[in-house]
Amino acid sequence: MTDETPSNEPVGARFREFQAGLDQPDGQRHRKPRRKGGDGEQLTVPPAEFASYYGRPVLKPPVWKYDIAGYLFTGGLAAGGALIGAGAQLTGRPGLRTVGRWTALGGVAASTYLLVHDLGRPSRFHHMLRVAKVTSPMSVGTWILAAFGPLAGVAAVAELAPLLPQHGVLGLARRIAPPIGTVAGLAAAATAPALATYTGVLLADTAVPSWHDAYPSLPFVFAGSALAAASGVGLIAAPAAETAPLRRLVLAAAAIELGGGHRLERQGLTSEPYTQGRSGRLVKAGRALLAVGTATALVSRRSRVLSVLSGAALVASSVATRFGVFEAGRVSARDPKYTVVPQRERLAESRSTTPV
């Protein structure tokens, strides 16, 4: 059964759907009649014409559900939260530290749920722990999460120490929790940059044209997006007196995301999904929200309302960017154009440079 059709559809439904979407009566050649060479003229613009098998995709579109797009966001949020928590811890900002640590735990808990939920066989999630493979970014990510998750959890739970009674066994726990939290928080922050950036490799290490071609950009886009989202949460939830570093961090995050991501639109045909359609609108919305959120954050020093608004814009920007990039990949895998045309151009190039 192909992916589009549930088995209970009436016979012929796929045929009718196919007929409706047919752009050429013969179904095979999306090709205008081409003049045979002989006049010695070279085409200056490479024609975007190609052949396909009834317009069907060459690749299988990713079977990942929106869980994974959501995970890109929550994983980044967790990593950013851990970094902010550690920064606040080292510079004596207890309120921001608490927010950072809880952001990290919330993000990583949501990530774990989303990742397990996306599996075809969720009950077998632990099979990920059978092997460790550097050729599989998902395996690398599993082990990063396995290290980061418990550390972030311990650091966040240590924030509950003041709620414990002064005396007895729990009193002892109250005294030893903060130093344990400190160590765990710093260790979580040490793994956080890997958690935020490996997802760029996770998407790029596929045959999906728009993801693979974006491999130089994606880790930077995701790093910036992670810092922006976590800073956004900090601007919303942390005490106003402690958010000065967040404003600088937001500026850096925007610079990393926009600086690293400007190549997304400049990678040839496969950048189309980043600029067109729903995926293009999401990516653009992510950029616009990032710009607005950053600008607002910079002027929000004295206004709680502006801080919250800028924080919300930054979080929304991260969500839009992640879903936009995710969707762009799915679009590029579904249309044979993005597979065939760049490969044809590559072949034509190698044939023109190497003597036959």
């Binding site: 192909t2 045929f15 013969d26 396909s52 510079t91 092997v131 993801w211 880790p219």
Partner: protein, 347 residues
């Protein structure tokens, strides 16, 4: 120490995977020039491997109602109808007797020379005028046509036409992206150099599906796991031929040691070129291509994309070292940005 070509370039996969003295690498050579589109391979594969039905539907793609390689179709026969001649550069039906069965002249002659049958009803024998009129073509009498369909009429609408048929299958790449990215170790390299999914390990993460440059491996919806051709690993172990190759009535699907198949394929292409089929070409046979050569390769009569194959696939993990470097750079940038932000002024 990993081989220098561990991610890209020519390689013998079984020794690279750690097998000592493995048997020769086995594979398929699918010669589409003799494929008759009978789909015996699809059926045999389903029968032997217990692959569930793919649903009954009409896709409107010539005689192809399978559509593509999926989790439930490990062989897929593609049908391409093309308005062009079959390679011999002669117009369709040239020299074939495609005119009316008889001419008025021969009918008139025939009517005169027949012997008297002694029957009264009907047309008198020996009335040449009527016979000549009738032989001129069907007279519409409110009955179905008196001639076979297409004979005598529609000549001007005829075009050169050819049918391409091709039985597609998992390519069992030398550098298999599905195998590289599998996070559970469910996909593994066999001693025959093929790539197989262990269904008791696969947890349906779906990474292999996005990684395959040919769009072969697929998720079974009601089951969640990834499935694809095993090159009949169970039969290979017993020294048998894979089910599809065994069932193929025209030896379009040939199974054997890959080296031998490559020689045979090169000879076949040469023969076809000699016989006037210049468009015959091999696909996936070259160990220097983007996936290090396919374990299952093809002889095609048109560009690969016409059959739904990528024209120049490259294993995605070729660029993996560069990807990790970019991610490392991004991670360092991220850490530095945080440090700088927190080291700045207090307020």
């Amino acid at each position: 120490m990993p081989h220098t070509n561990a991610l890209y370039g020519p390689l013998d996969p079984a020794p690279d995977a750690g097998y000592e003295n493995p048997p020769p690498r086995m594979g398929f050579f699918t010669d589409t020039s003799v494929c008759i589109g009978c789909k015996a391979c699809e059926v045999a594969c389903k029968e032997w491997n217990g692959v569930p039905e793919s649903g009954l539907d009409l896709l409107g793609m010539s005689y192809d109602n399978t559509g593509a390689l999926t989790a439930n179709s490990w062989r897929h026969v593609a049908f391409v109808e093309q308005p062009r001649s079959a390679g011999w550069a002669t117009p369709a039906f040239a020299g074939d007797p495609d005119g009316p069965a008889i001419s008025p002249v021969t009918a008139a002659v025939g009517a005169r020379t027949s012997t008297d049958t002694g029957t009264d009803p009907g047309l008198d024998t020996g009335s040449p005028a009527a016979a000549a009129r009738m032989s001129g073509g069907p007279e519409f009498l409110g009955m179905p046509g008196a001639q076979p369909p297409g004979r005598g009429t529609g000549e001007e609408g005829r075009t050169d036409f050819r049918w391409l048929m091709m039985s597609d299958v998992c390519k069992h790449c030398t550098h298999a992206a599905c195998l590289d990215v599998c996070p559970t170790g469910s996909l593994f390299r066999t001693e025959f150099g093929t790539v197989v999914v262990q269904e008791d390990i696969c947890n349906g993460c779906g990474y292999c599906i996005s990684a395959c440059p040919y769009g072969v491996i697929d998720q079974r919806k009601d089951d969640g796991r990834a499935w694809k051709c095993t090159l009949c690993y169970d039969r290979l172990g017993a020294g048998m031929t894979p089910a599809c190759a065994q069932a193929c009535p025209t030896e379009s699907i040939q199974y054997g040691p890959l080296d031998e198949l490559r020689e045979r394929a090169a000879a076949r292409v040469e023969t076809l070129h000699e016989r006037g089929v210049p468009e015959a070409r091999l696909y996936g046979h070259d160990p220097n291509d983007g996936v290090g050569g396919d374990g299952a390769f093809f002889l095609l009569l048109d560009e690969p994309e016409v059959y739904g194959l990528p024209p120049d696939p490259i294993v995605t993990t070729r660029d993996l070292p560069k990807m990790w470097k970019r991610a490392g750079l991004a991670a360092v940038t991220m850490a530095l940005a945080t440090a700088v932000a927190f080291l700045g002024r207090r307020r």
